[in-house]
């Protein structure tokens, strides 16, 4: 049987055989239906439109009964069996219309390589995001054809311009390239014993940083499961953001304990402020409040700590964290700017969200006291009164810097100077 099959072999599937009976022909040799033949038949039928005819050439006689029944069950049309001059069977199958996948077959997509690399930015260029997405396509990757009849998924972020700014793939590429290792990239062996008061101040500052970074880890996680996979690059970017935050929490807590300072106090006002962030339910509002206002403000805080770092390890940690945070801020900015450009009502909504949060935090008078003290001592470098006075001035200067930077960032996001001033004034004194 096998020898016969080889003698009769016709061109393989990739070579479409034109003949008067069928658009496509495959050589099944002596394969049984359950012996692998379906792995040839099913992909071949998939190449045809409904009604298109596939010829299956075979010397396996069991197919004479198996193929018609299989076709009936699959709602393909078994047309006829012909006997060829060479003595094998030619089964003609009309492709059925039941369960036809939607969408165009992806063809001609060959991703470009640059220095042997394939970037996500190029993937996005090749397979652009749809303006709107259908929740019943489930987890099908963008570009896949989707068989009908799948369940509707609970995705709620279904509009490109509210989910995925055009820069998202580039930001993802940058994020992946910029990952670092908290265990091995930090020169932990360079830590030297500092005065207790400095270690305790560091412990307090890093407690506050870690607490805020925990909120920045949790908040994006709420939205990933709501993002339609057609905009997966946004979910993928947020996952790098979460990995960044996890790493920051890790290094901050390690540094707090590496010199014996230990953790400080988590204040009730910080807790209240972060809860109002975690409770956000709108993705764009969350990106605005967390990334543009919160993490934006954090950039100045991290610069302050670097400038006054008591050792190189501390400076290195906050410098690395700031680089990551700057990427999150860029995402927040391009996201908000893109959404604002496509939705005129968004200005009002974002302003209202900031105001609402400000009202809920109106009892919070200023930066958390333990943090104020920690930053002041850190900037002072010692506890003599002159140094403390200098540290206190530096802290007050930080508040001014934060406000000025926020205003610039808000203007960059698309707000007027007046709106930016107002929004910055309303921002939480907790920084994040």
């Amino acid at each position: 049987m096998r020898a016969c099959a080889r003698r009769w072999r016709i061109p393989p599937l990739s070579n479409i055989v034109q003949n008067e009976n069928a658009a496509l022909a495959i050589d099944g040799g002596d394969l049984a239906l359950g012996g692998g033949l379906l792995a040839l038949i099913r992909p071949a039928l998939d190449l045809l439109e409904p009604g298109g005819v596939l010829a299956v050439n075979s010397v396996n006689q069991a197919l004479r009964d198996d193929l018609p029944r299989w076709c009936q069950l699959q709602h393909h049309e078994y047309r006829e069996r012909q006997r060829t001059e060479q003595g094998y069977d030619r089964h003609l199958i009309g492709r059925g219309a039941l369960s036809l996948p939607s969408g165009q077959r992806e063809s001609g997509v060959t991703l470009p390589q640059r220095d042997g690399h394939i970037s996500t930015e190029d993937v996005l260029k090749s397979i652009p995001m749809p303006e709107h997405a259908d929740p019943s396509s489930g987890f099908a990757p963008r570009g896949a054809r989707v068989e009908p009849g799948g369940p509707r998924y609970p995705f709620t972020l279904l509009d490109r311009d509210h989910v995925a700014p055009p820069e998202i793939a580039k930001l993802y590429d940058q994020a992946v390239a910029a990952q670092w290792n908290a265990a091995t990239d930090i020169a932990w062996n360079k830590i030297r014993k500092l005065p207790d008061v400095i270690e305790r101040a560091l412990g307090q500052v890093f407690t506050f940083l870690a607490e805020n970074e925990l909120s920045a880890l949790y908040l994006p996680s709420k939205f990933i499961s709501r993002i339609h996979p057609a905009y997966a690059e946004t979910a993928m970017f947020l996952s790098t953001q979460m990995a960044d935050e996890a790493r920051h929490i890790d290094v901050f807590l390690k540094r707090a304990r590496a010199g014996g300072g230990g953790l400080g106090v988590s204040s009730a006002t910080t807790s209240q402020s972060l809860l109002s962030l975690l409770e956000l339910e709108d993705f764009t509002e969350a990106a605005f409040l967390l990334s543009v206002l919160g993490e934006g403000t954090f950039l100045d805080l991290l610069t302050f700590i670097e400038d006054h770092a008591p050792d190189e390890v501390t400076a290195d940690i906050v410098r690395r964290a700031r680089n990551d945070e700057a990427r999150h801020v860029r995402f927040g900015l391009v996201h908000v700017r893109h959404a604002l450009a496509h939705d005129a009502s968004l200005y009002g909504r974002l302003e209202a969200a900031v105001r609402k949060r400000a009202v809920s935090l109106s009892n919070v008078g200023g930066a958390p006291e333990p943090l104020q003290d920690g930053l002041t001592v850190l900037a002072a470098g010692s506890t003599d009164s002159k140094s403390i006075a200098r540290g206190h001035d530096a802290f007050r200067e930080l508040l001014h810097t934060m406000h000025a930077s926020r205003v610039k960032r808000l203007e960059h996001a698309g707000f007027t100077t007046e709106q930016a001033q107002n929004l910055s004034d309303l921002h939480t004194p907790n920084f994040m």
């Binding site: 049984a32 009964d65 009936q72 069950l73 709602h75 369960s99 019943s136 009849g149």
Partner: protein, 269 residues
């Protein structure tokens, strides 16, 4: 429960039967065809209570369907069937090393057969083999009488038949072609070891049966809701997959003659 409600009987051959009919009941409800269901442990009781008028519709195997037809002098109403129920056939499958090349070669060999009340794995293949001239007295039978009362619904005895061939306990076996094709599609059959030697003529399988006096409104509502199920609607597709079909088909009576003949002339085993 109002008189409008269609009371349907089905046999609980598997836990999934509850899921199927809960889902179909919801679909019927959505379509304005209130329906409830009663589960039986065997088809004999279901047929009995249909004939007594305790249920409106019975989801019947071919064996149960033919009994309903006979008991009602062919006046019972057939309401619908699955696409997979039409043009059913049974297969004689053999081990490649059994030396069976023709039907007569079965004599003196071991033939694995499914449950005694399975239309596709026992009753009809033996009926047709006898018609082909096989002397069944000369065949050694390996009988898998599992799930009797379920009329072969579970498919357990057919899987047992295929296993008996695979492990060499039998030289040949009889199974329905639904199992045969589906088991092949799923990659469960070693087709180098087991092959199909012969196929019976076609016959039809399950049917929704009702008594002739069933309320016309119930019949219309039943059909409208049933034939309104669509493969590309997610809620429907799940149920259709569980019930083993893609499209509900209008009823036809032409496919049950061979079973009537077989029941009138039982084969010796």
């Amino acid at each position: 429960m109002s008189d409008e409600t269609i009371l349907l009987g089905a046999v609980a051959y598997d836990a999934k039967v509850v899921t199927i009919w809960e889902g179909i009941r919801q679909h019927f409800q959505n379509e304005g065809a209130p329906m409830d269901f009663v589960l039986f442990s065997n088809y004999e009781r279901q047929v009995e209570l249909l004939l007594k008028g305790h249920i409106d519709v019975a989801w019947n195997t071919p064996l149960a369907h033919v009994r309903v037809r006979q008991q009602t002098d062919d006046r019972s109403l057939s309401l619908g069937m699955r696409d997979s129920d039409q043009d059913f056939r049974s297969r004689l499958v053999v081990r490649s090393d059994s030396g069976i090349a023709a039907l007569k070669d079965l004599e003196g060999k071991t033939l694995a057969v499914g449950s005694r009340d399975s239309t596709q794995a026992r009753i009809l293949p033996l009926h047709f083999l006898r018609q082909e001239g096989v002397d069944l007295e000369q065949v050694r039978f390996l009988k898998f009488d599992t799930d009797v009362g379920k009329h072969g619904d579970t498919g357990t005895s057919e899987i047992d038949v295929l296993e008996a061939l695979a492990n060499g306990r039998a030289d040949a076996g009889t199974v329905g072609d639904l199992i045969w094709v589906n088991e092949q599609s799923a990659g469960h059959v070693d087709t180098n070891l087991i092959r199909s030697l012969w196929t019976t003529p076609p016959f039809d399988h399950c049917m929704f049966d009702a008594l002739p006096g069933l309320d016309v409104g119930k019949i219309e509502r039943f059909k409208k809701a049933l034939f309104g199920m669509r493969w590309d609607v997610p809620e429907h597709r799940r149920l259709l997959e569980l019930e083993g079909l893609k499209v509900w088909m209008p009823p036809r009576e032409s496919g049950y003659e061979s079973l009537r003949e077989a029941l009138a002339n039982p084969t010796p085993e």
